[in-house]
């Protein structure tokens, strides 16, 4: 895969990325799966209201590291996370913090669209309902509409909110999942290769959506496509074999990588 560097389109926010406050901060994070270490002492600061991309060859630990931010690794048998992660200065491993609350604040979109086998409406309304964010039908209706609006799906599904979410096309399903994550009012949205199961047109739609959402949300996206990282992100982190090799402005990473391994990867020599 040789990276067509010419496709990089620097965005305004990429330039003023440093001006934003850091929302997420990771210090010396390690992750083990049983005896096997998957993440080695990774530290990074992720700025708010921007898109941060994780790239790197398959199996380098991008997903594993992403899952640290909403403690989804807790749900994996034998997985242990070390180090410190704070969101807005709050330690997410603080025993006083309920993981349910954390996951309401840090939404997640998965690689394969995974809508619930329920109606479109119920897919969106589920999160707000279990968190007690809505009372009554009018409030729920309004929230469902606004989440679908933000995910750019409202026009397409407004007349069939009772249809099953699993009946939508792949791209629509993934936007439904994004809307579902948005509905609980998160501050951070984690996306693990959200476009890998989509065709190029659906991918472009989702990328545009990510572009809009970053005005309001802090987005961390794992992608195996360097073009995608270049298109949507302001900051990029390059991982290799569980280590963070290089982290910086997306433009700098792609145009002027400081590390040899990064350069080798983006020019297609590893990965």
């Amino acid at each position: 895969m040789s990276a067509p560097l010419t496709t990089i389109r620097p965005t305004a926010s990429a330039l003023d990325g440093d001006a934003r406050a850091n929302r997420i901060s990771a210090r010396d994070v390690t992750v083990h799966y049983g005896p096997k270490q998957a993440i080695f002492d990774v530290s990074m600061e992720i700025p708010e209201r921007s898109v941060t991309a994780f790239i790197g060859p398959s199996g380098c630990g991008k997903s594993t590291f992403l899952r640290c931010f909403n403690r989804m690794n807790d749900t994996i048998e034998g997985c242990r996370v070390g180090g410190t992660i704070t969101i807005d200065g709050e330690d997410i491993h603080d025993p006083a913090l309920d993981v349910v609350e954390l996951r309401a604040r840090v939404g997640m979109v998965f690689q394969k669209p995974n809508p619930f086998p329920k109606s479109i409406y119920d897919n969106i309304a589920y999160g707000p309902r279990i968190h007690g964010l809505v009372r009554g039908k009018a409030e729920t209706d309004a929230l469902v509409e606004s989440a679908l609006q933000k995910a750019g799906l409202w026009k397409e599904v407004a007349d069939r909110l009772d249809a099953p979410g699993t009946g939508l096309s792949g791209g629509q399903q993934q936007r439904l999942c994004i809307a579902r994550a948005i509905a609980t009012g998160p501050e951070v949205i984690l996306m693990d290769e959200p476009c890998s199961a989509l065709d190029p047109i659906a991918t472009a739609v989702v990328e545009d959506l990510i572009h809009e959402l970053k005005e309001q949300y802090t987005i961390v996206i794992v992608t195996h496509s360097m073009q995608q990282a270049a298109r949507v992100s302001q900051k990029t982190a390059f991982f290799h074999l569980g280590k963070l090799i290089e982290y910086g402005e997306t433009e700098q990473i792609f145009v002027n990588p400081r590390e040899k391994q990064t350069e080798a990867y983006i020019t297609g020599r590893i990965g």
């Binding site: 749900t75 349910v100 996951r103 939404g107 997640m108 589920y126 279990i130 994550a181």
Partner: protein
Amino acid sequence: MTAIDTAPAGSAADENARRRAQIRRSLTRRNRAETRFRLLGLGSALAAMAFVAVLFGNILSHGLPAFWQYTLDAEVTFDAAVIRVPERPVQGADQSDAEFRAAMLSWQRRLAMVNWNRLIVASVQAAAPGQQIDDRAAVSVIDSGVRFVLRDMVADNPALIGQTVPVRMLLSADGDNWAKGRISRDLPDARQQLSRPARDWIDSLMAQGTVHRAFAWHIFTNVDSRTSPASAGLAGAFVGSLYMMIVVILLAVPIGVASAIYLEEFAPRNRATDLIEVNINNLAAVPSIVFGLLGAAVFINIFHLPFSAPLVGGLVLTLMTLPTIIIATRSSLRAVPPSLRQAALGLGASRTQMVFHHVLPVTFPGILTASILGVAQALGETAPLLLIGMNAFVANIPATPMEQSAALPVQIYLWQGNENRNFFEPRTFAAIIVLLGLMILLNALAIWLRGRLERKA
């Protein structure tokens, strides 16, 4: 491959031709193997079908005739000279309920002492005026249960006394055997169950059409009987089995499903849960008779529950069914795609919410099917019931699960062992048909529900 590698360079066309020939040769081999395997598979499937067909054909051909029994359409004269009982008591204004009940009871006792056989003999003799049939022979051709039928008719309607009404009477087991040709006509008199006049009487009335086959509804409405085998039925065994099914459904299904959910979704993976898992798998392989022993030891000896009671039977069958339901439920929980769990957890659902809002709804059809099949399996189980005394002869319909009762599979076993082979062999098959019918009904229900629920999901 080596042939290709060592081929002289340059002759590319040659090489291609050779390669194609090689592929064709291996293709012939593969096709032959495939044909062989298909024929083998087809043969096995046909053999299996043939076994099933033979089994069902055998059961049906033996059992179906038992559902029609020979009956006599006769006139019965409720002779006042024979039925010498006072008027049926009516409750007087000055009579208390207890007094009235006592009077009624003594009247019924008087009624029970009437020699009903006199009426039967009279009507049997009247049915074939040309035939000489002595009293003993006349009694022997009619089922002894008919006495009680006549008594109940009078008890319900005392106005019958003195009247002559048509009554359909069941032939005795021996009479039915003779009419159906299940006893060789060549046997000497000494080895015949019925005397010659009795046999002649049946033959002549059959020719006349007064003795004919009728559908034996009493198989479904009567309880088992030793004295009047022709009118013995499955009602007691059916209700006993029904009680046991209810106990199994109320206990095994919720406990099994709940423990499967706990083990699969909540239990930590450690030595203790591994041990439990191994034990459950082993329990599923324990022969059912062992559960019977366990039930006798625990429920009867320790908890002093009654012998032969459907409650105990149900508890034993619950123990036996639990592992089946747990294992099937766990495997259907395991089949839920991880992406669904991730979606729920990722939104901040707790584990319990994930299980109850998302996992269970999609596994419900599977759990339901597993439960129904488990219950159906329990319905047919016999061995453990023998060990808790359910093979006792019980001639009443249990009013509660604590009362003594028969059970369908045990009834089959008991009938199968009855000395009147000629009559009870078809009877046994008839009971098997009823049991199999229930099983097929339960399985069909499982399939139907599964299809319905899955279409909805």
